[in-house]
Amino acid sequence: MRITNNVLVNNLKNNLSRTIANMERQQRQLATGRRIGKPSEDPTGIVESMRLVSRLRENKVYQDNAKDAISWLETADDALNSLTTAVRRGYELTVQAANGILSPEDREAVNAEIRQLMDEIGVIANTMHNDRYIFAGTNTMNKPYEDGVWQHNQENVLYEVGIGVKIPINLTAEEVFLEEDIMGSLQKVVEHLEYNQTQELGADIEALQKCIDQVLACRAKVGASINRLEMTVARLEEQEVHYKELQAEVDGVDAAQLIMEMKNDENVYRAALAVGARVIMPTLVDFLR
């Protein structure tokens, strides 16, 4: 093949621009830390990467949901804790009243304390989390208990903590206060004490015992839900790490390898320049006199 000066020049230009294009890509990948800048650089890779980014976002939302649910349930747990104490106190007072012969003043004192307890239980029934009544079913904007009247429904508030996984996070007033009627039982005690019908207190004690069992059962349920949600969070966090690893595999940059490739291309580039400088310069003209 006949080689002319322009063949040399063109080849040099083309080779230089190819190497430079390579180096540009490597530099961009190193600078952004991402392997794929545009869909056309790796169509399958980018689809995979986008899917993972979406999954990661979703995962984050589910984690937030689960944590919010735990916080709601912890509020409920605190409320139930106070409720247990209150009902226990009512139970103890009733047992005391049933056992001894109380003077009218003592009965009055016990009665007063039980009324106080009932007020407190009313406050507990109206416990709020984030400005919402937690024992009101889905009727979260209205006080479930006011002046002895219950206003609530038995619907569950559901949070989504995974694709299609919806967890009820509320206990309804029915479950906590009304199946075994705490207020009603205490009210009976008050009435029986007032009219000094101590013989009736035995039945009240039994009713209150059932109330305590009911509250404890609710606490167990809340505890179980919190456990489940904590496990969910742990699983979601593991999943997040997993997704991030996959994402790094698809779209991450292996810096060591890239820098090595870049050094290599840099050498090629320098060599091409050096050879070019030697090849382009001389012609026969340089040696004619």
């Binding site: 545009k38 869909p39 650089e41 980018i46 986008m50 919402r132 979260t140």
Partner: protein, 477 residues
């Protein structure tokens, strides 16, 4: 009998021929870097011999031709490859622009905005009564609709830009065709004497090659040295006759309606639509009329499905004040068909966020507390609502991006391949037709020496004559 001055004449012919050869060498060197230039070679021949008693005696040299050293097969290959390169370069360029428009991967792409929209519904499911969360849901909806609208506007912009480019290209093509026609006339005139018009042909070959990149052409050279150029079966240039392409872009807002039409300026007739077979122009028209509308249609399908699925659930839900049967998304122009241009968040909802239906139960007490409809809408994210129930919105959208990526990769590879082939062809052509300075310098020395020698011959002849005239026969003095 030998003529006395016979030798002098041979010497003179030598001088003249070598000097002419030096001129050609000089012309080659001067044009070493001229694009499209073909190196020329001097063809020398001995002049007809003379019959003398003893046999035939040579009479010197003459130049018969300045040969243009060119391989026309490379020209044909170059035209074919350039036609493909033009088309693919254009497609690649537009697809890269589409990639920028879709803006993946990024935090402002449709996918991100869609994700954020579903997230807003998730948040609403946790706080169905909250005004701020409701505002967020509305805003995310507005952002989503705006992103779709913006995409549509960018598609239109791109198509309008393409039409501008097509307009410029058509002008360029018409100018090139006119120049080729003019060169045809000059070459036919110049070559009527039998010699090739080297430099005119170089110029015309280069123009034809540029034209081939702009628009797919078939080239035929006729016996008079004129080229005839056809585009999709219709004559663009035939000897001294010229047709023109006219670009009718009468309604700029409807870019796909623009047409390319044949027009004969000589008699003012129109010869119908231009059939494109390759080149930059075909790349532009294909992108404008098929590729961009296809992406637009696919995104519109997504828009339609998202809007209809959200609306279907939203209509059966209840707002804070118990309002029901409200669409979340509406069309901008009031028609029924959602598409990228034609979607917005219901203006009623934009004015009153209480209308956002998070509750699914018709009970005034729970309009604020029931989150089940918000949950149902948030769950649409993973519903297999596309492609007859096999793909989620995300899957569908990612398939679009995947397709764009594959097309971009293909066009990129085609451009790289064609460029490489053209590089090789350029080198081959350079190898045949290019000027080598070493070679020219060698020739220069060769011709210079021959010139000096011919001059020396004349000097020798001169001395012979001097001897003859001054030294011979002193007797007569």
């Amino acid at each position: 009998m030998r003529s006395t001055f016979f030798g002098l004449n041979i010497g003179y012919k030598g001088l003249a021929a070598q000097q002419r050869a030096l001129d050609v060498t000089s012309h080659n060197i001067a044009n070493a870097n001229t694009p499209g230039y073909t190196r020329q070679d001097v063809i020398m021949e001995p002049t007809p011999a003379q019959k003398v008693l003893e046999g035939y005696v040579g009479t010197g040299v003459t130049i018969t031709d300045f040969r243009r050293i060119r391989d026309s097969f490379i020209d044909i290959q170059m035209r074919t490859e350039n036609r493909a390169l033009g088309e693919w370069e254009t497609k690649d360029n537009i697809i890269k622009k589409l990639e920028v428009i879709f803006n993946e991967p990024s935090d402002t792409s449709i996918r991100s905005v869609l994700d954020q929209f579903w997230e807003a519904w998730q948040t609403l499911s946790k706080n169905p009564e909250s005004v701020s969360v409701r505002t967020d849901v509305m805003q995310r909806g507005v952002t989503l609709a705006n992103t779709f609208n913006h995409l549509d506007a960018q598609f239109l912009d791109l198509q309008m830009d393409i039409n501008k480019e097509i307009g410029l290209k058509v002008n360029e093509i018409n100018t090139q065709a006119r120049q080729i026609r003019d060169l045809n006339i000059k070459i036919m005139e110049a070559e009527s004497g039998g010699h090739t018009a080297n430099d005119l042909r170089d110029k015309r070959d280069m123009l034809v090659e540029q034209l081939a990149k702009n628009i797919g052409i078939d080239v035929v050279e006729d016996e008079l040295g004129a080229v005839n150029i056809l585009v999709g079966g219709q004559t663009l240039v035939s000897r001294a006759v010229l047709a023109e392409i006219q670009f009718n872009n009468n309604s700029p807002l409807n870019p796909t309606a623009a047409t390319l039409e044949w027009y004969v300026p000589a008699d003012g007739t129109y010869l119908g639509q231009v059939k494109l077979t390759g080149g930059i122009l075909k790349g532009y028209v294909d992108m404008r009329d098929s590729v961009i509308p296809a992406y637009q249609a696919e995104v519109s399908e997504l828009v339609k499905a998202v809007a209809e699925e959200v609306n279907a659930l939203h209509r059966i839900g209840f707002g804070l004040d118990g309002t029901t049967e409200v669409d979340f998304f509406t069309t901008t122009d009031g028609s029924l068909e959602f598409n990228t241009k034609n979607i917005q968040v219901n203006s009623l909802i934009q004015e009153d966020i209480n209308l956002i239906a998070a509750a699914a139960t018709d009970d005034p007490e729970v309009y604020a507390g029931d989150n089940s409809n918000a949950l149902a809408i948030a769950a649409l994210k993973n519903k297999l609502a596309m492609n007859n129930g096999v793909a989620s919105f995300n899957d569908f959208y990612m398939a679009i991006i995947g397709k764009l990526g594959v097309q971009g990769q293909e066009s990129g590879q085609m451009v790289a391949n064609r460029s490489y082939i053209i590089e090789q062809l350029m080198n081959q052509r350079e190898s045949v037709s290019g000027v080598s300075l070493d070679e020219e310098m060698t020739n220069m020395i060769k011709y210079q020496h021959a010139y000096s020698a011919a001059a020396r011959i004349i000097t020798a002849m001169d001395q012979c004559l001097e001897t003859l005239i001054f030294r011979l026969g002193v007797v007569g003095r």
